[in-house]
């Protein structure tokens, strides 16, 4: 069973969300991926206005429409527009089919503006995904490092949160999140560097690691290789490739009546 935590239909080709999503499924079938979590539409606004947020999420809803048996969706929110973000959460998650929250680079995760979003998502047991990178050349001004997510996780110690990309610079990211046990890490979106998964399993335990691809910007193959080519036990691979994500998602899937 392979579930992809981190997928964007926009990189798969196709002029519409429906066409892009059909390609996601076609290539997913080829690579053995059963389910996808999708977020973000065609744009890449780093600090989206409320209207842009809505456009993103509408495109994702269109993509999801025919594929609810193969895909889940996360709502894209911007803490710089907190009231609008909470309303968007209600529209897409509380009253809609989405099951998680995607936070990107509009504001660092350490900022307290995120707290109401986290609280609302936690109340519904929605999945919370926060992008992080820890770039050698420096991050964007609103881009979180794993240390920012640790601050957030400390303020919400009972809420599971996913540290996107493990910070990219994974040797730093793994160490940063190691002691904060309500944080899981996402393997997506960095080069298929040998040793990443081995260190993550050694330091965090396989239960805190979730596979994602960050396709279409990344190759499904290069990202699957991180787990499938690693030297960790097969049981650990199964956890990372799908079982951990399924376990995290089951409460909200069950509450919404989705069958798995």
């Amino acid at each position: 069973m392979i579930w992809d935590l981190h997928c964007h239909f926009s990189g798969f080709g196709g002029r519409t969300p429906e066409e892009g999503m059909a390609e996601v499924i076609r290539l997913g079938d080829r690579m053995g991926i059963e389910r996808f979590c999708i977020y973000l539409g065609f744009g890449r606004e780093e600090n989206p206005s409320p209207a842009q947020m809505r456009t993103h999420n509408d495109e994702v809803l269109r993509a999801l429409d025919h594929w609810r048996h193969r895909a889940w969706a996360f709502v894209y929110l911007n803490p710089n527009y907190l009231d609008e973000s909470l309303r968007e959460f209600d529209r897409c998650v509380k009253d809609g089919p989405m099951v998680g929250v995607k936070l990107w680079v509009a504001q660092k995760a350490s900022g307290r503006a995120l707290d109401p979003i986290i609280e609302r998502a936690a109340a519904m047991q929605a999945v919370i995904f926060q992008h992080t990178w820890w770039k050698t050349g420096g991050n964007l001004s609103g881009e979180s490092t794993p240390l920012d997510v640790v601050e957030l996780a400390k303020r919400h110690p009972k809420t599971p949160i996913i540290c996107g990309h493990t910070g990219g610079n994974w040797e730093l990211g793994i160490r940063a999140v190691r002691g904060q046990t309500n944080l899981s890490v996402d393997l997506a979106g960095s080069d298929p560097t040998n040793g990443f998964v081995e260190m993550a399993v050694r330091e965090l335990g396989a239960e805190r690691i979730i596979w994602g691809s960050d396709a279409g910007g990344r190759s499904l193959g290069s990202q699957l290789a991180k787990v499938q080519g690693s030297t960790v036990p097969e049981a650990a691979k199964k956890l990372m490739l799908g079982e951990n994500l399924k376990r995290m998602m089951m409460p909200i899937l069950t509450a919404k009546g989705f069958r798995v």
Binding site: E171, D191, G217, G229
Partner: protein
């Protein structure tokens, strides 16, 4: 299958699963690789290149029963680099050299690059150029190295007779005369698929960049692209044989 891009010895910044040569050989054999062109991570930063080339030759001789073909390195910024080139061919019987211009501090535009490439071509050696070893965003903060700019390469292959070049670890291969590529750094879900639609397809070789990258990455990209039949055979070995034999484009 021929893997045109593997390394022996140690990456300077971390131990890698597979950086023991016996383990590397075991991995390649299990994957169906019958020949692998092996450079040395030592070549990236070491200055005693004579010792580096001797060790890579010995490692390839001791491990794998001929599976590993040693690829030496020449750094034209070192004194008497021509002697390293001579030894690669005459003493070690190498068919290729692998260059690291960005770690060694020269550009393809420099006169010494033309001298080196010309000397390699005269000896019938083909030249691998490693365009980048690691994503700039994840490099050690005290050793940041930008990718090799390749704009000059078409001019060099056009004007240096018999020069054959393979670019390694580059994300965007293009169709240039007598220039070959691997696709280990090609990304995006449609990355290899799009390349296979164009004329550059004839210059793509399988190269895993193992053990820095997972070996499975390049292999799964071929599956993702739906490569099969003659196209797959060229990727797996056919184009590499042309490159090694010097009978190609």
């Amino acid at each position: 299958m021929i893997d045109t891009n593997v390394y022996v010895s140690r990456w300077p910044f971390r131990r890698l699963p597979g950086d023991e040569t016996a383990v590397l050989v075991q991995k390649l054999r299990a994957a169906g690789v019958v020949e692998a062109w092996a450079g040395s991570f030592d070549a990236v930063l070491h200055r005693d290149m004579g010792a580096v080339n001797l060790r890579v030759t010995e490692e390839c001789r001791k491990n794998g029963n001929g599976l590993l073909k040693p690829v030496g390195c020449v750094n034209p910024m070192l004194p008497d680099w021509r002697e390293d080139l001579r030894r690669c061919q005459e003493r070690y019987g190498m068919k290729a050299i692998r260059l690291h211009p960005n770690y060694h501090g020269y550009r393809l535009e420099d006169a010494v690059t033309r001298e080196l490439l010309s000397a390699a071509a005269e000896r019938g050696l083909f030249v691998q150029i490693a365009a980048q070893m690691e994503d700039e965003r994840t490099q050690h903060s005290l050793l940041r190295v930008a990718p090799v700019p390749l704009q000059m390469l078409p001019e060099l292959t056009k004007t240096i007779q018999r020069l054959r070049v393979q670019v390694l670890n580059h994300p965007r291969p293009v169709s240039w005369e007598r220039v070959y590529w691997d696709f280990c750094a090609v990304e995006g879900v449609r990355g290899l698929t799009e390349l296979l639609k164009g004329s550059v397809a004839d210059s793509l070789c399988f190269g895993s960049y193992y053990p820095f990258f997972l070996w499975e990455s390049a292999a799964l990209k071929m599956k993702e692209a739906g490569a099969e039949g003659a196209v797959l055979e060229k990727l797996r070995a056919g184009t590499a044989r042309v490159l090694m034999g010097g009978t190609g484009r």
